[in-house]
């Protein structure tokens, strides 16, 4: 490919040559022109773009006149070599042209005119010949001889192309990076160089760097340039590459997608503009370069349109990116909009949209909505190939609602209908996990054993880990530990799985307070995973173990180290430190730690921990002086006034009230009573529509009134919050209070508020109380399954909650009412194994278990249970009376049976 043209030669036409020719003799024989005319003819042909004719004329000139003294003069020879060489290159005769131009380069000095151009052409000619090494030599020489020319960028770009052809990606990348660094290109040119660099990054598997290059814009964003087309074109493959490792980045890149038909249209005007390029030598050279780049872009678009990157694939990718980056609401919106859309691609995406919507709803705890999506799809599209996946998702909805048995039954039905489905084994594995989560360790273990034989080798470490959890739950601790040890040694197990095995193993030894074994496993973990993913969690376990072993000094040391890090696991360490200082009644340390903790959460933009605020209050009560300094107080007040939902505002008010005399000075309200200040604030918040702090002031007043026994006045304020404040704006504790009040008075807002709490605060400590209340509501409205699912969540997930024993008893009672004594027994087993259960609750649990025993044909244990109640809990008259009655009733039946 030659990049020079007629215009180029025009520019090169040398006046000195004509002068020289005027002096030479004029003769003609055998059709050969006189020397001057022959030369003029050669140059004329070259200027007219007749490269082949020009070459012939140059050849004839050399043959006939080459030995003439005028032609052998140095100046003439220099021009002859250059023009003849260029004519040869233009005619595609590289073998003839290259020696001529190389000789030219040899006899001219570095300052000679046209030197950069000739060097450039020589390198190009070598490249066309496939001699990359020689081309590189000349590019290198060009860069060293003409570092100031903007064409160095062009040379580096061609060099990078050559390196790519030789699969030297790293070196090609370095060349392109230098182009961008040297900044010799125009803005669109630089953006195109960035796109070329991004392509290299993608080939090297470095997606994040590609994103940086494509996302870069110097100054004003270049929204319409070819670089934008590259961006849209490369986005799908980038999203694919980044989806697992960097989902947020993948999601951002999915914003670059464009319609495939748009891309071709966008690039056409640029191709047309470049085709019209004419002018001087430089413009032609650059024009050819851009043309080549745009042709490359156009071929990439054509290739992409044939590779299935249509709208359907783009939307599918975007849905996945949204789900992976935890943008569940957006994934739900997109699914809903696509299901409404009349685009042909949308019709083909219905299964994906339903699946994504269900997945999003599950993560948003919109159980009913998830169920609606699944049911609609199952009803409307029974023949759709995506049906099995939706049926599995329906089972997942049940599992997420803690209705594990129902979920397992649904998966079993699905497996019966589709035993050969590609995901059958994965479904079985999940179902076994649900059995385990549902407290059915024995049947879960059986399923895992069965799966062990059928599953691929890579799955076996995971199955072993799950088996060990089943064994542990079944009380077979030794066997469980042996399996866990096996997983930690298994070469097939991933690092993460091995770490999980260590965590479970350590958990078992902590529970059993096995000092030596704990230390052994801990050291093993620390040696194997010094920077492990679960490192902080394990250190927390180590701290907990030290505390349980009566070594608070070590525990404090460990927790102090962990709490210094920026990680979600540090919250536990902070809480434990707080507990240690509280137990030691070391209030100065408690205050210091609380302030450090608050400072850290503010730095990390995390919610202000309630415990830390409580610690400040404890300090004030014990030491009688304010815990908050002026700066911290101002920061917290600012957060309250701007309605930050992450601030425990009511606790802050309590702290202020405790030491109002000091704080009023710091707040510049000296002399004003706290109650008046609070009222002023409340009115101000109402005027400014700051509903969260307004609600907090009202709820704080309500608590104060309640502590004075003025329950009705307190509830009036809480009802005012229900009436006036959008619950979306409330934080967990405020929403809990108003939901509780609405529930207490049986307001229609009760259920929606309780449900909203569950959606909005899935991990809050108040969740079990809300679950319990909502379960009662469902039960009263006859929705037994929903009620049981909620209580099962309390039973399995919130074992430390104060409501947990009540939830167990209620669930067991409902199981007995439903004629399911075995479920009642397993629920009561969880409760009776709890340490420190109050006697009244133990007696009630034993009575229920005795009832179950009689129903399950286990009269001996039933009688024994009743006798124990009578012997151990005589103080609880109603329970003993019912135990006595149960005993008598069953002795009678037993006697009749014997008779």
């Amino acid at each position: 490919m030659a990049v020079y043209s007629v215009d180029v030669v025009n520019a090169l036409y040398p006046r000195s040559v004509l002068l020289l020719l005027c002096l030479t003799a004029d003769f003609c024989c055998m059709g050969i022109l006189p020397m001057r005319d022959q030369w003029k003819a050669a140059i004329g042909a070259l200027a007219n773009g007749q490269a082949q004719l020009a070459l012939e004329k140059f050849r004839e000139f050399d043959h006939w006149y080459g030995q003439e003294s005028a032609a052998r003069e140095r100046d003439f020879r220099i021009n002859q070599l250059r023009l003849w060489g260029l004519a040869a290159l233009q005619a595609g005769e590289q073998d003839e042209g290259l020696p001529l131009l190389l000789e030219w380069l040899q006899i001219t000095d570095e300052e000679a005119p046209y030197r950069a151009f000739i060097r450039f052409q020589v390198a190009m000619a070598y490249r066309i010949q496939g001699d990359g090494t020689s081309a590189v030599d000349h590019w290198r020489a060009f860069l060293s001889e003409h570092p100031q020319l903007p064409e160095t960028a062009l040379v580096r770009w061609m060099w990078a192309d050559q390196l790519l052809a030789e699969a030297k990606l790293g070196e090609a990348r370095a060349q392109l990076e230098t182009i961008i660094e040297e900044n010799l290109l125009s803005k669109p040119g630089r953006n195109l160089a960035r796109a070329a660099l991004a392509l290299v990054c993608i080939s090297m598997g470095d997606g994040p760097s590609a994103v940086i290059q494509l996302g870069h814009s110097d100054g004003q964003p270049d929204t319409q340039g070819p670089a934008q087309v590259w961006k849209a074109l490369l986005a799908p493959s980038l999203v694919q590459d980044l989806l697992e490792a960097e989902p947020e980045l993948a999601q951002r890149v999915s914003g670059w997608f464009d319609r495939p038909d748009n891309l071709q249209q966008k690039v056409l005007p640029f191709i047309e503009a470049v085709s019209e390029t004419a002018g001087n030598i430089r413009q032609v050279v650059w024009g050819s370069h851009w043309k080549a780049q745009l042709n490359r872009l156009q071929s990439a678009i054509k290739e992409s349109s044939g590779s299935g990157n249509g709208m359907e694939a783009l939307f599918r990718l975007r849905l996945r990116a949204l789900l992976k980056s935890n943008l569940f609401a957006e994934a739900l919106y997109l699914s809903e909009f696509l299901l409404q859309s009349r685009m042909p691609a949308a019709g083909r995406l219905r299964a994906d949209c339903h699946a994504a919507a269900i997945e999003a709803c599950l993560n948003l705890a919109f159980w009913d909505k998830a169920d609606d999506f699944a049911s609609t799809f199952i009803k409307d599209y029974p023949e759709d190939p995506g049906l099995p996946d939706i049926l599995f998702l329906k089972a997942r909805i049940a599992a997420e609602r803690k209705a594990f048995m129902a979920a397992v039954q649904q998966v079993d039905a699905l497996l019966n209908a589709r035993p050969d489905h590609a995901s059958a084994l994965a479904w079985q594995l999940t179902a076994a996990g649900w059995l385990l989560d549902g407290g059915e360790a024995g049947p879960a273990l059986e399923r895992y054993e069965e799966l062990l034989e059928k599953s691929p080798l890579a799955w076996q470490p995971l199955i072993h880990l799950q088996r060990s959890r089943c064994l542990d739950k079944s009380g077979k601790v030794v066997a469980a530990k042996a399996l866990l040890e096996q997983v930690t040694d298994d070469p097939l197990a991933s690092s993460l799985l091995k770490e999980q095995a260590f965590v479970v193993w350590l958990g078992i030894t902590v529970r059993g307070i096995e000092v030596e074994e704990f230390q052994f496993v801990l050291n093993l973990y620390r040696r194997s995973f010094p920077a492990g993913f679960n490192r902080l969690m394990v250190e927390n376990l180590a701290g907990t173990f030290a505390g349980l072993s009566g070594d608070p000094v070590t525990a404090e040391k460990i927790f102090t180290v962990v709490s210094g890090e920026s990680h979600p696991a540090t919250a536990y360490a902070h809480e434990q430190l707080s507990l240690i200082y509280r137990q030691e009644k070391n209030f100065p340390s408690l205050r210091k730690h609380a302030r450090r903790w608050i400072g850290q959460t503010q730095r990390d933009n995390l919610p202000i921990p309630k415990v830390a605020m409580e610690d400040c209050r404890l300090y004030q009560i014990s030491e009688g002086e304010p815990a908050l300094g002026k700066a911290l107080l101002e920061t917290l007040m600012e957060q309250m006034e701007t309605g930050q939902p992450t601030l425990p505002g009511m606790l802050l008010l309590a702290i202020l009230e405790d030491q109002w005399e000091s704080y009023s000075i710091l707040l510049g309200r000296n002399g004003l009573a706290f109650a008046s200040w609070l009222q002023d604030k409340r009115n101000l918040f109402s005027r400014n529509e700051r509903w969260l702090p307004y609600a907090q002031c009202l709820l704080f007043e309500a608590d104060q009134l309640e502590s004075l026994g003025r329950i009705d006045s307190a509830d009036t304020r809480r009802i005012e919050v229900i009436r006036s404040v959008n619950p979306d704006m409330l934080n967990a504790s405020s929403l809990h209070t108003v939901a509780k009040t609405a529930d207490k008075y049986d307001f229609p807002e009760g259920v929606p508020l309780l449900e909203q709490f569950l959606k909005q605060f899935p991990d809050d400590q108040l969740r079990p109380d809300v679950l319990y209340r909502l379960a009662m509501r469902w039960r009263h409205s006859g929705q037994r399954e929903r009620a049981e699912a909620l209580l099962t969540e309390v039973l399995t997930q919130w074992t430390d909650a104060s409501i947990h024993p009540e939830a167990c008893l209620l669930l067991a009672t409902w199981a007995l009412d439903a004629g399911q004594p075995s479920r009642a027994t397993s629920t009561l087993k969880v409760l009776l194994e709890k340490a420190g259960l109050p006697p009244a609750l133990t007696a009630r649990a034993m009575l229920l278990r005795a009832q179950s025993d009689f129903l399950m044909n286990n009269p001996e244990r039933g009688r024994l249970g009743c006798q124990r109640i009578l012997a151990l809990y005589p103080a609880f008259g109603d329970i003993t009376a019912r135990a006595q009655a149960l005993l008598e009733e069953n002795i009678l039946i037993g006697d009749v049976d014997e008779v």
């Binding site: 849209a232 914003g255 670059w256 997608f257 464009d258 319609r259 748009n262 709208m311 783009l314 939307f315 975007r318 609401a329 957006e330 919106y333 997109l334 809903e336 909009f337 696509l338 409404q340 859309s341 009349r342 685009m343 949308a346 529509e689 509903w691 009802i719 229900i722 009436r723 006036s724 404040v725 959008n726 979306d728 704006m729 609405a742 307001f747 229609p748 807002e749």
Partner: protein, 229 residues
């Protein structure tokens, strides 16, 4: 309480009183004869043109039923202001003039002239347009109603468009309207859905309006809720 009819009446009154300048038009009759001049007035059956010939001025009456098409002559005159008094001529306008008028209406709405915008979008919607232009006019009309505080009427107009529009092709302005109407109705979740839509479409809309819409998320403060019964 303002009503849609009242607004229209007030708008027309204002418009007619200010339409003082004569409108320059040219046109062709059904027989192929050309005519041009300043439009003085229109009666039920004919329009009256004034033409200058040297120092003299002549008047020409053209029966409306003989007119094939009318073209607005390009001038510095505001086409909306000039056409205000002659709405019944809209049917005769050629395509270029209609487009000029449409452009002027869009500009007028974007500059915040809600009452004129409402009047003209309603007028232009009486004509035949492509589906896309009809949607655009409908959206701009609903936008004017919203800005004039007629939320109910705006909501009704928007819902009609929503039935026809494909959400994956909905303009940022339509999303803006749906989101704001949802906020007004206290439906925060619905508002969030429409706020997100421009960024979920392919290609994502990243224009200034889409960005402004994102900021609505921050501004959607709580709305007062109904009292507990």
């Amino acid at each position: 309480m303002r009503s849609e009819k009242l607004i229209v009446a007030a708008t027309l009154f204002l418009a007619i009183t200010v339409a003082a300048e004569a409108l320059q038009i040219s046109g062709v009759t059904k027989e192929g004869m050309s005519f041009a001049g300043n439009l003085i007035s229109t009666a039920e059956t004919e329009l009256l043109l004034e033409r200058e010939r040297g120092a003299a001025t002549t008047q020409l009456g053209i029966p409306l039923d003989s007119i094939a098409s009318i073209s607005l002559v390009e001038s510095a005159q505001d086409p909306l202001l000039a056409m205000e008094a002659f709405p019944h001529l809209l049917d005769f306008l050629d395509e270029a003039s209609r487009k000029r008028l449409l452009k002027a209406v869009v500009e007028s709405v974007e500059l915040g002239d809600w009452s004129s915008g409402y009047h003209w979008t309603s007028q232009l919607l009486q004509l035949e347009w492509t589906r896309e232009t009809e949607m655009l006019l409908g959206i701009y009309r609903a936008w004017c109603l919203f800005e004039m505080g007629l939320f109910g009427a705006s909501h009704e107009a928007t819902l009609k468009i929503a039935e026809e529009i494909d959400p994956m092709e909905a303009s940022a302005r339509f999303c803006w309207l749906m989101a704001h109407l949802a906020v007004k109705a206290g439906e925060v979740a619905e508002a969030r859905k429409w706020i997100s839509l421009p960024t979920l479409q392919i290609p994502s809309r990243t224009n200034a309006l889409a960005i402004e819409l994102q900021s609505l998320l921050m501004e959607t403060g709580p709305s007062r809720r109904r009292a507990v019964p």
